[in-house]
Symmetry: C2
Subunit: 350 residues, 2 copies
Amino acid sequence: MANSTITDVAAHAGVSIKTVSRVLNNVASVKPQIRERVLRAIQRLDYHPNPSARALGGNRSYLLGLLYDVTCGYYATSVLSGFIERSRAAKYQVVMEPCDYSAPSLPEDVKRSVRQSRVDGVILTPPLSDLKSVCGALEELALPFVRIAPGRHGDHHRSVCTNDRESCAAMTEQLATLGHQRIAFIVGNPDHAAVMDRYRGYVDGLQTCGLKLDKTLVAQGYNSYSSGVQCARKLLNVSQAKRPTAIFASNDEMAAGVLGVVHSLGLAVPEDVSVVGFDDAPLASQVWPALSTIRQPIAEMAAQAADLLLRALAGDLPDQVRRVIPSVLTFRLSTGPAPNRARPKAAKSG
Amino acid sequence: MANSTITDVAAHAGVSIKTVSRVLNNVASVKPQIRERVLRAIQRLDYHPNPSARALGGNRSYLLGLLYDVTCGYYATSVLSGFIERSRAAKYQVVMEPCDYSAPSLPEDVKRSVRQSRVDGVILTPPLSDLKSVCGALEELALPFVRIAPGRHGDHHRSVCTNDRESCAAMTEQLATLGHQRIAFIVGNPDHAAVMDRYRGYVDGLQTCGLKLDKTLVAQGYNSYSSGVQCARKLLNVSQAKRPTAIFASNDEMAAGVLGVVHSLGLAVPEDVSVVGFDDAPLASQVWPALSTIRQPIAEMAAQAADLLLRALAGDLPDQVRRVIPSVLTFRLSTGPAPNRARPKAAKSG
DNA sequence: GGCATATTTGACAGCGCTAGCACCGAGATG
DNA sequence: CATCTCGGTGCTAGCGCTGTCAAATATGCC
């Protein structure tokens, strides 16, 4: 069955192709009755406009790009799931644009990539969303874009993020409420600006609870499992008195690394050490014990980003917009009350 | 800088646009000297053909679809990374086509999806690649497709797979070599036909080593972490004598579930029980202890699939082709010698 | 009713490329 | 030497839409 064209629809509805085009593009000035007639014809013929023809005629591609770093495949997939639905609804297609975050030629790569694919706009996932060079390249091309979870928001850009700082503060407070006084923190990759906010939240939380920041309890990680392992070794390889009773990592992968070290030292989670992550990646519930973490609503953020991008393309959105979707604290088995030594008053064994 | 068009290139090279078009499409009958001239002009103008125009004129879209099940995001991403590179090189773009594997309307959804996006061909990732209904829908539309890691190969289709059976046999033999005599197996979701091959490999391996198949050591899982947990409980909740000393799960996620159960029973991995997975997903090296597993070369398989699809589109490929990319056994910390009780002869403690 | 204004609709020319066929010149053939 | 062949090239008509602008129709006012 050959695909029907706009001409077929026009013939069936007894109008000109231009009117059909108007209906397709939601132009207001079509009489309801005629619009109805056209829609019926479209339905009857199972007509789908040819994107290539639309693109060629309208000087746009109806393609949206999802720029992501190849090493962050999981994140990209989650973003995709939220992004694609909205885009589809708006008759846009999504093309994936893998990038190598660490390549020196990144800005050039991005430019070539988007020019070649002729996308109408892109969304940037972290860590790309933090790179001035990438944003600059996009601006040079005058290509609309929305950033997901960028660290710096000051620039004149559209972005969607979550409340990293507040949720990390809340998590820190929860740990304190469980009796933890020596709460360690593993900072994420400094390249990912958003994770700095997580650290700030940790500091806020300590302060709220009257705990004072102990720099020996802060380690610098790089978002990877192995950096989590290294940080955990550093944090735990001390006398028992100085050992943290809880370790809060800036992402789940590093938290998983912590778990490994704790196990291999013969310590128990959460009896000896509580462990907390961030993201609620699938990994968080597939390690043992399952990680308490902070669920970042990636799909929802992506949907909002799609919204912003589509509206920007339609021209009814200011240059600078920022949306915040709250994260939610999620408690699983990796957290528990602080061990007795930390709070000598209420000694009980179980 | 406005994008240049084929007309600009033709003018600069002093030829007709048709000749430029021939160069772009690798038509043989262009004099080397002229071809050279055109290529230089293309380079100088940084010309990229407009895909929409190519699509419209040539009656194809230069779009390739990647059909995947939304619940298998990770797998899709890995496939993508291998797929996109080849496609790009051939000036094709990749669009992601998420599907709901379990929807009754799946064949209709697939049809609508591919018709709407106008893709020229698609690749199918598991579990989609096993569904007759999906393949049927695609055939009805006469849309070329390549299946990745399907279980049944008998049909008249193009596919790329790995040697599930052989590698699982080899892994089973390795476990036997380590002294394991009670090797349990967790079968994967029966919907994913490829995993049945893994079970067959396990049976082969047992046979090769002179171990006999004990049905009480075989559990039926569903590829998820939680089904791994359930199977492990069933397998381990027996007297010590009957307990398996090694558990081989058909994928890493289930193996991670096994790990959790072993830990929570107070047993040690690999001292009391060795655990093995399949896939070498990121998860495998992010649990503790890191999983011995079988690395499925997904990206490479995807690249081959892209190759097959592109050649099929070019018309120089028979209907039925099957490529096999071998998996590789990967040993990490989750496997070790069988505990002494299983081989009472060489008692040593450490 | 007659006129000036909205409002709604249609005719038509591209968008940048490919496909089909016509064309041109050089070597092969009679 | 005329004719044929054929590799190499150019001309031109679309592909299915959108944008522009003009035409047709509806609405408001005196």
